[in-house]
């Protein structure tokens, strides 16, 4: 139940995280910190709560997994807090709990993430636990087996989830032959064959100072943060050993493909080549995606498919950028008999926008939302840390909030119309459906 919602919410969240801009009250307070040992981080001091949040990322992610070993990064992420240094798995977790530390690791296709929060009073001991997890995880064989079983069970649960299946199918067909086509969290088959050596090899290759980005927010000053950075990351090797990943564009697949799943609804994922974050037309494209399928009920697709016809509960589009590929992607869930109709409506709106462009009012509304709502993405320590980390991963400067606002403000209707002409051609719009769609031209 929550899975679907979370999946859609995730897409929206990405949109908000990456794409909105407003000069938030606190963005100006970003300090660029460099530790005595030379590790860089962005810091926002926020003293009103006795909490420190540190988010960090290593370049790597699923793209660095060995072929046939998909799920390595996820398994490693789940293993890092299960014993390190002299502390067995249960003992490590007990210490984490005793100190009320929050520690989690995660991976997407390009990046391996760490998320660490501690109460100020426990910073010293918490830092030590984090250092151990990063540098001396035990990766105990028995715990690997147990965690593997859990991940396989989860993969099993997801095997019937049509949203996940449609997304996976879309990626597989669009990036055939490229690492991005691979199953991001692994399949039961690939999870089964990952060894402890694979985990250790992966960890050694990606965890290095050169690929590291750090964002910290909370009850801590620059000097103290510098010490924490050196303690946690100082002993890592200087450079990662990454497999080169070529740039790629999603292929156009002419007819919708279908993954058969029983159920009353089908999920359709549609998408095509998008636009790079560094492209001058990125911000017009952002406005375009917002007015086409952003969260609001006046977005074209929401209006046509949901508000006017009741054919779906959720529908969205967003710009989705990997390190080596850019996409404009969207999705919806409709009853099996109505999938074809909903898809026709999507295509019709693509076509109409490409041919006629948006109205001035649509452009104004989307810009106004994108600029104004950014402050909502900066109203907690955790969110600020997230934004700062994402900005660093995108190669932006600490003035990213200001720059984004200025770039969005400059977007004119003609810019959006121009981008719509190139970005919304329906000829290369690829579709993957999971469900039992009726009357779908495939």
């Amino acid at each position: 139940m929550r899975g679907r919602l979370r999946a859609a919410a995730f897409s929206i969240a990405l949109l908000l995280v990456w794409l909105l801009a407003r000069e938030g009250a606190r963005a100006a307070e970003i300090q660029e910190v460099r530790s005595p040992g030379g590790i860089a981080a962005w810091l926002v001091e926020e003293r009103s709560l006795p909490i420190i949040a540190i988010r960090f990322a290593f370049e790597g992610g699923g793209a660095q997994e060995a072929m046939g070993k998909e799920g390595t990064a996820g398994l490693l992420a789940a293993m890092l807090d299960q014993g390190a240094g002299d502390l067995s798995g249960p003992e490590y977790l007990r210490q984490i709990e005793k100190l009320s530390v929050r520690l989690a690791f995660d991976s997407d296709r390009d990046t391996f993430f760490g998320n660490f929060e501690t109460l100020t009073k426990n910073l010293g001991r918490a830092t030590e636990l984090l250092r151990l997890a990063i540098t001396k995880p035990l990766l105990a064989p028995a715990l690997i087996e147990r965690t593997r079983a859990q991940l396989m069970a989860r993969a099993g649960f997801e095997a019937g989830d049509n949203n996940k299946l449609a997304n996976a199918q879309w990626m597989a067909q669009s990036f055939a032959g490229h690492t991005y086509a691979r199953a991001i969290s692994g399949t039961p088959e690939t999870l089964k064959v990952i060894t402890r050596d694979d985990l250790e090899d992966y960890r050694r290759r990606i965890m290095a100072r050169a690929g590291l980005r750090v964002a910290a927010v909370g009850d801590i000053d620059a000097t103290t943060l510098g010490k924490v950075l050196d303690e946690v990351f100082g002993a890592l090797p200087a450079d990662p050993q990454l497999i080169p990943v070529p740039d790629v564009q999603p292929k156009a697949v002419p007819k919708p493909t279908v993954v058969a799943v029983e159920g009353p609804q089908s999920v359709a994922i549609f998408g095509r080549r998008g636009i790079e974050r560094s492209d001058p037309d990125y911000f017009p494209a952002l406005v375009l995606s917002q007015l086409l399928g952003g969260g609001s009920s006046d977005a074209r697709l929401v209006r046509e498919v949901r508000e006017k016809r009741g054919l779906t509960y959720w529908i969205y589009t967003l710009l989705y950028n990997f390190k080596h590929a850019s996409m404009l992607i969207g999705g919806f869930a409709s009853p099996n008999k109505d999938v074809a109709t909903s898809l026709d409506l999507v295509r019709a709106e693509f076509k109409a926008l490409a041919e006629q462009g948006p109205t001035q009012e649509e452009v104004d509304a989307a810009k106004s939302y994108l600029i104004g709502s950014f402050v909502l993405s900066l109203d907690s320590n955790a969110k600020i840390a997230e934004q700062m980390l994402r900005a660093q991963l995108q190669g932006l400067g600490p003035d990213f909030v200001k720059v984004r606002k200025a770039q969005l403000a400059k977007v004119m209707r003609a810019d959006v119309a121009r981008v719509a002409r190139s970005l919304l051609s329906i000829e290369d719009l690829s579709v993957a459906v999971a469900g039992e769609p009726v009357n779908l031209d495939r």
Partner: protein, 475 residues
């Protein structure tokens, strides 16, 4: 952590996919409860002359405000045969009013850089906007307008009925776990309307109409049945002035308060549900025990049950995980959760995902053995201290999230708890003893007032013919 949360399919229903805030998660949120332990209150409250309660929760870290109106009515207050009407009305509240066109409220909020949504649970319905604080007044004016001025057009009603049917298909019918959750609740409550899903049963949802929605609206949507919660970069004085000007003129409605719901008879029998589904690949068990809620509990029973659920099932250091996963190697995962920010009763949920080759009987026996031991011996002092420590620390972390803060106050106030109840929660948790936990374990971990649900993989050629469908999942 590779925790697989198969538990916690919620009773709440969100209108949009963005901002899904399940009220069942309010369990966790309440567990995250209140502000610091010092006697000074964080939130302040007052009442308007028309009976509307107003609560202000300052958070000046960012120029943002969260504006929420809670109505003391939800899915458990629907008339018989009209399941889903409270939630249906929630959707219709985004359609036309006398002043606003369909969807206009959302459009305006969006233009101001805000986001909005609404949620219906069994006990409450709430509408919120999060936006830059200078636009609070605009949000209030529109929310006040739709409290009494809804002007439903027949065609919009019919379309929105399709949308809620789509919602049901997306969030229930496509999710075997959600189907199981409905089945367990329908069997857990023998008489109380918590047995009926907030979304409604599909055959009754199909008959929902303008008249039933309007009748519900006219009766329950009134200032004397509402709570305004404003969290964020605001002062109580400024909110008071705005609220008096904007919500103050709305007339009090006699009869707006809901009736007491039918109550439960004694529960006398063990119930087991089996849901076979081809989309499921792992055998899983989910058991709900009927418990008191934070509102209905006597003494500190709710806090003790909350503590119990943490000890039993919060993560890999918990009892169930250690015993069922680590020691016996019978489950791939196991845990517990407690959902009790509710008017008439709470639910303690246990779950376990079977390990390779493990059958129903083996899984359930292992669970029962862990529970029996816990009921007999209670928690160790170390387990107790660790659980309380975690619960109290979590409130510090949770103060980081403004929307969560507003949710914590609203969800508790709407069931009749006070600001003092909310803000003294950490102190009450600190006072929970091992004897308290042992006592509630013996009193409420009783099989005859529980329902155990199984999710069973159904494969072709397996024990059931492959064309057997879970009837509940199909139209």
């Amino acid at each position: 952590m590779a925790a697989l949360a198969i538990a916690g399919v919620g009773a709440a229903v969100a209108r949009r996919t963005r901002f899904f805030v399940p009220l069942a998660a309010a369990v966790t949120l309440s567990a995250l409860a209140p502000a610091h332990a010092e006697p000074q209150r964080r939130a302040s409250e007052f009442w308007l002359d028309n009976g509307m309660q107003v609560v202000v929760v300052p958070d000046h870290r960012s120029p943002v405000v969260t504006h929420v109106v809670w109505y003391r009515v939800g899915g458990a207050d629907n008339a018989p045969g009209q399941s889903g009407v409270a939630h249906f009305l929630e959707h219709l509240m985004f359609r036309s009013t006398k002043k606003l066109k369909s969807g206009e409220l959302e459009r305006i909020v969006s233009r101001l850089g805000g986001r909005d949504n609404a949620v219906t649970s069994h006990d409450a319905t709430y509408y919120f906007q999060r936006l830059p604080s200078e636009h609070l007044k605009t949000a209030m004016v529109m929310e006040a307008d739709r409290m009494r001025n809804l002007n439903l057009v027949e065609a919009e009603v019919a379309t929105e009925r399709d949308v809620v049917l789509q919602e049901r298909r997306s969030v229930v019918d496509s999710k075997p776990l959600a189907i199981l959750d409905e089945l367990i609740n329908a069997n857990l409550y023998l008489n109380h309307p918590y047995r009926i899903p907030v979304l409604g049963w599909e055959h009754e949802m199909r008959k929902l109409n303008r008249a039933s929605a309007i009748a519900f609206y006219k009766r329950y949507y009134a200032p004397n049945n509402a709570i305004l919660v404003v969290a964020g970069d605001v002062t109580p004085d400024a909110v008071k002035k705005l609220a008096q000007d904007i919500y103050g003129p709305i007339k009090r409605q006699p009869g707006a308060l809901r009736e007491a719901r039918p109550s439960e008879p004694p529960q006398r029998g063990v119930r087991r549900i089996e849901l076979k589904d081809p989309r499921v690949s792992n055998l899983a068990l989910q058991r709900y025990y009927m418990t008191p809620s934070y509102k209905s509990a006597e003494g500190n029973e709710a806090e003790a049950l909350d503590t119990l659920s943490i000890i039993l099932g919060d993560g890999p250091t918990s009892r169930l995980y250690r015993q069922m996963v680590e020691e016996k190697n019978i489950a791939a995962n196991a845990g517990a959760s407690f959902s009790a920010v509710a008017l008439d009763g709470g639910t303690l949920t246990l779950y376990a995902v079977a390990g390779d080759g493990v059958k129903q009987e083996g899984l359930e026996q292992a669970l029962d053995a862990s529970i029996a031991q816990f009921v007999k011996d209670g928690p160790t002092e170390e387990e107790l201290e660790q659980a309380k420590n975690a619960m109290i620390a979590s409130y510090v972390y949770s103060a980081d999230n403004q929307a969560g803060l507003a949710q914590r106050y609203g969800s508790n106030l709407v069931i009749g708890r006070s600001i003092a109840d909310i803000e003294e929660w950490p102190n009450k948790v600190a006072e929970v003893t091992a004897a308290d936990v042992k006592k509630v374990a013996a009193k409420y971990l009783v099989l005859s007032s529980s329902v155990t649900g199984y999710l069973i993989p159904q494969r072709g050629g397996d024990d059931a013919p492959s064309d057997t469908q879970p009837a509940e999942a199909r139209r």
